[in-house]
Every structure is written in structure tokens, then in C-alpha cells.
Amino acid sequence: MADLIARWQVWKRDPRVAWSVYAALALLLAALPFIVGATAGNAWVRILASALLYIMLALGLNIVVGFAGLLDLGYVAFYAVGAYCYALLASPHFDLHLPAWLLLPLGALVAGAFGALLGAPTLRLRGDYLAIVTLGFGEIVRIFLNNLDAPINITNGPQGVDRIDPLRFGSLSLAKTHSLFGLDTPALYNYYYLFLLLALLVIFISLRLENSRIGRAWVAIREDETAAAAMGINTRNIKLLAFAMGATFGGLSGGLFASFQGFVSPESFTLIESVMILCMVVLGGMGHIPGVVFGAVLLVVLPEALRYTGDLQNALLGRIVVDPADLRLLLFGLALVTVMLLRPSGLWPSPIRKREFAAGE
């Protein structure tokens, strides 16, 4: 038995093994839309694309909450900024149809600027105050989006902006069906592939940031801000950097969301969204990139699975006691509470963070 374990240890570290695992994974991810589409239907492919979007969002928030330890409860504001940026400049609303290669980075940049703007006066506040201020900011953005339809119609108010242009890169439109190795890829699949590539990029950037001078500075600030400053870290700027980077990822995801859904309204950007993204980070494993990815996928897929509890209730009790749609948020809240009480380092924590929460502070 010990012999088998020893062989497994050696095998685990073989780079060729690592590469074949990655290759297999890549193949699986590439084939996934077709597999899922054929078995569970295209609705589930849509859910997968949504999950990839939330992976990007959760990783963005992870930089702020997980790495730097700043509780941001208004993260959805950056998502909204990116989404509306795209929506307003690529739809019949102002009759502007700027190209995607301009708008997606633009949305990200504008969101990043908002992040810096919000962070500049507020990042020196203590944790709880920062949480409430960011929450307030998230609400302010939503209220403004809801009301900026008079006297000049900027955002079209509660009705939102629809008929948003799909993404187009040069002559390659994601809305058209293309062909990949002889198989047809409808619009939905095209978006899935784009999201997959971008999610992988975001994961890559997060990993690089984690193991870098900046990443260490973030963790140092999280651990002991005073000591970090005494060691020469410009805490204000580094915190601002975390905020702005997180906001940038949020803004990018927003632009993608707008073009994917084709429609945005203030209703998509409520506090609940911010809390849900926070839930993904916390539940998955704060600061731990694989954990956060896991948390994002879990919290997108699980509520869909909850729909089936309706059938379950019918079967067991003869009627639906609790509408499955109502259960979703309740379970999020319960998840937040129970994770913090029972396993605060998250479902898939980094080995270090586990030790941090285990011993208390």
C-alpha cells in the first residue's frame, strides 16, 4: 500500500502527467457545449456560459476581498458600469454601434476608474465602514441607472436598454452560426468559447498576481496594515490598486453580459447580486483561486438544480409548499451563515487560509 502511495506521489509530480491532464481538461471544456447540448439541452449550455461569466466576476471580487481583505458589498456597481457602457454605445438607444474590441476594454477601464474614484476617499475606513459605504455606492449606482431617464434620457430608466449588438470581431460575428471541425456552433456556443477563453485569461492573471510583489503586498496589508506601511508599502495606493483591478474585471464581465443577454436593466444589478458574488468567494474559499472558481460554478449551477425541488415537493407532499424560486436566496443566506460558522475558510480553502481560520485571530 505504501508502495502504491509512493508511486502516486512520483507520478503526480511528473510534468508529462500534468500536461496530459491539462490537455484532457482542455478537450473536455472544448467539447462540453456539444455534450451538454445533446444531453441536457441548450438551456444548460447557457447556464455554463453564465457560470464562466460569474467565474470572472468572482475572481475580480476575490482580488479585493480574498487577497487584500477589503469587504466590498457593492461590487455589482462595476458590473453595471461595464454593462451599461457597452449597452449605451452598441445599441439602437443612441444609435451608436461601436465595435466590441473598443467597447469591452473601454467598459473595463471606465469601471476601473469608478473603482479608483470610489476607493480614493473610502479605503482608509475600517472594514465594517468600508462594507457599508461600498454597499451604499452599489445602491447609488442602481438608483441613478433607474432614474437617469429624465430630463435627458441617458439610461432609459427601469425599462433598460435592449436590442444590444452582439459581439463582432471584424467580420466574425458571434451571433452567426460558424463551423468548428465540421460541427455547427450556434451563437450560444460561440459566446461560450469566448467566455471560456476570457475566464482562463482572468484565472491566469489572478494566479500571476497572487505570486508577485503586489500580491504579497495585498496579503501583508490584510494581515497587518500598520506593519505593512512600516515596511514601506504604500497601503493607500496598493489598496486602490486592488479595488481598481477588481472593478476592471467586473467591468469586463459587464460588457460581455450586455452583449450576451442583449438586454440590460437596473434590475440585474441589485445588492443581491453583490452578495451572491461575495457568497461565491466566501463559500468557495476566500483568496484561493481554485476555490473561488468552484464557488462560482456551484452557486450558478445549484439554483438551477433547485428548480427540480418543485417536482420533489410535488412527489413527496402532493403540492408545492415553497416555490423553488423563493428558496434560492434563502439558501444563499443560509450558506453564508453556515460556512462562516462551520468552515470559514471555505469549501476548498488554500492550505494557508485554513490554518488562519482554524486558530482564530
Binding site: 476581498v65 445602491e139 451563515v337 488562519e356 482564530g360
Partner: protein, 309 residues
């Protein structure tokens, strides 16, 4: 001028309600250093429970004086909220008293969401109306109109605030609460049962919240499972404005915020030439919060703390 006075009256009434809720936030923050996000939901539960009782009584058709009906509603709401507040602290905060700062903040938000959705499941998503029980007594001062209800709310709020002031300054429990908020560890060493004091704080705050909930639903005529969120946020802003941890600060902050909101909403149209209307009312509280925290985080009555090493 008349509009101004009317807005002031309205602001004072709303402010009294904010003050009652703000007291709950400030007491908990003073003792635990924690923002009890779920407090707004306790207010909501107070409103919902009282309304359920009131509607049931009205539905039976028995002829009872309105005061009794509302009184019975309060009688049901207050103990329920006290129990709720107690339970929230025991379940979500006490186990995390020594955990990293982020942890109780997250459970607080989680509890808030749980409570909102439990209320939604129990009472549905629709607005629940407050039955037309209250005497429509009006008093006219010039062209300023003040209703009986408004007077009642302000008087009751003042009474409760005075009661709390007495409790905190003149009783041994109050002394224990003040000591614990100054220095929890030493208070414990001096023989004060910290857990009891903390539970009492939550219970008292929740009782005030229940009354505030009934006031809100009576004044605005409706209750709703989501009503606690905005109200809670504004009340917290009021607490910060007055100086978090400071009881008189919470009272002052509440009234001030009510006035700022009322006057702001009333005049913003004129001030901005029609660009922004009173539909931006909710934003005022947030801006006040941000301004206070950025420029004078200790609030109006708080001490200037140098939070240095």
C-alpha cells in the same frame, strides 16, 4: 416658508423613527464593534407580525377600539422581536466573537438575507396594507398640517428614548452596558456577565425596533418583506452621523437625517432646476453616510479617535 415648515414636520416624524432604529445599531456597535446588518429585518418582522395580528383582529369584525387593536399588535410584535434579536446574536455572532473581522460581517449579511426570505415565504411578496383604523385627526398650524399619528409617533419615540436614557444612566444593567462598551475585557474581570449584557443589548434594541416597525407601517400604510433593508441602512447612517456607539448621537443623528432627507427631497427639484427630483430621496442617506465617514468619521457627538498603532 410653509413648505419649509411642513417638510420640517415630516422630517421630524421620519427622524424619530430613524432614531429608534439607530439606537439598536449604535448599542450593538458600541458593545461588539459590529454592524448588525440584520437589525433592519427585525424592524420588518415587528411590522409584519403586528400587522398580521391587527389584520386578524379587524377581520374578525369584533368592535374593539383602534388603540386596543394596535396595542395588541405591539404586544405580539415586541416579545417576538426581542426573541428574534436574542436568537440572531446567539446563532450568528456569539460563536464568531474571536474570529477574524470579516466573519461576523458576513454572517450578518447572511442573516439579513435569511430573514428577508423567510418573511417573503411566510407573508408573500405583496405589500400588506395597514387597515384604516387610525383617527384622521388633523391639526392646522397656519398652512402646516400635523396629523394625530405624527404627534403620537414623535411623542412615543421621545418617551422610549427617555426610557432608554434612564435605563442606561440609572440602572445597574445600564452601568454594566456602559462599562462593557468601554472595555469588554475589564468589565468581564470586574464581575459583569458579558454574555448577559450583550444579550440584553440585543433584546432592548430589538424591542425598540419592533415599535419602530409598527410606526413605519402605520405611518406609510404598508409593510413589505423588503422594507427593512433601506430603513436599516438609513438608520445606520443616522447612527454614524450622530457618532456610532453614542446613544444621544443616535437620537440626534436620526432626527437630523430625517430632516436632511425631507428638506432635500423637497427642495432638490428647485436646486437642480428639475434635473434631479424627489425620486432620488434614498440617495441622500448614502451621500450623508459617505460624507460623514470621509470627513468626520467619529460623527457629530463621537470622540475624535486616533486609530493608530
Amino acid at each position: 416658508m410653509d413648505i419649509l415648515l411642513q417638510q420640517i414636520v415630516n422630517g421630524l416624524v421620519a427622524g424619530s423613527i430613524y432614531a429608534l432604529v439607530a439606537l439598536g445599531y449604535t448599542m450593538v456597535y458600541g458593545i461588539l464593534g459590529l454592524i448588525n446588518f440584520a437589525h433592519g429585518e427585525v424592524v420588518m418582522f415587528g411590522a409584519m407580525i403586528a400587522l398580521a395580528v391587527i389584520q386578524a383582529l379587524v377581520g374578525t369584525g369584533i368592535a374593539l377600539p383602534p388603540a386596543v387593536i394596535i396595542g395588541l399588535g405591539l404586544l405580539a410584535a415586541i416579545p417576538s422581536c426581542m426573541l428574534l434579536g436574542f436568537a440572531i446574536e446567539r446563532i450568528a455572532y456569539r460563536p464568531l466573537r474571536h474570529a477574524p473581522r470579516l466573519a461576523p460581517l458576513i454572517t450578518a449579511i447572511g442573516m439579513s438575507i435569511v430573514l428577508q426570505n423567510v418573511a417573503m415565504i411566510i407573508w408573500g411578496r405583496r405589500y400588506i396594507t395597514f387597515p384604516a383604523l387610525l383617527p384622521p385627526g388633523l391639526h392646522q398650524f397656519g398652512s402646516v398640517v400635523v396629523t394625530d399619528l405624527q404627534i403620537f409617533i414623535v411623542l412615543l419615540a421621545l418617551l422610549l428614548m427617555a426610557g432608554l436614557e434612564w435605563l442606561v444612566q440609572r440602572t445597574s444593567l445600564g452601568r454594566a452596558m456602559r462599562a462593557t462598551s468601554q472595555n469588554r475585557e475589564i468589565a468581564g474581570l470586574m464581575g459583569i456577565n458579558i454574555n448577559t449584557v450583550i444579550s440584553a443589548t440585543f433584546i432592548i434594541g430589538s424591542a425598540l425596533a419592533a415599535v419602530a416597525g409598527v410606526m413605519v407601517s402605520a405611518y406609510y400604510g404598508i409593510a413589505h418583506y423588503y422594507m427593512g433593508f433601506m430603513l436599516g441602512l438609513k438608520a445606520f447612517t443616522a447612527a454614524v452621523l450622530g457618532g456610532i456607539g453614542n446613544l444621544r448621537g443616535a437620537m440626534l443623528g436620526g432626527v437630523l437625517l430625517g430632516l436632511i432627507e425631507s428638506l432635500g427631497a423637497g427642495y432638490i427639484g428647485d436646486l437642480t432646476g428639475g434635473v434631479f427630483g424627489s425620486n432620488y430621496q434614498d440617495v441622500f442617506a448614502f451621500f450623508v453616510l459617505i460624507l460623514v465617514l470621509v470627513f468626520r468619521p467619529s460623527g457629530l457627538l463621537g470622540e475624535r479617535l486616533a486609530d493608530r498603532a
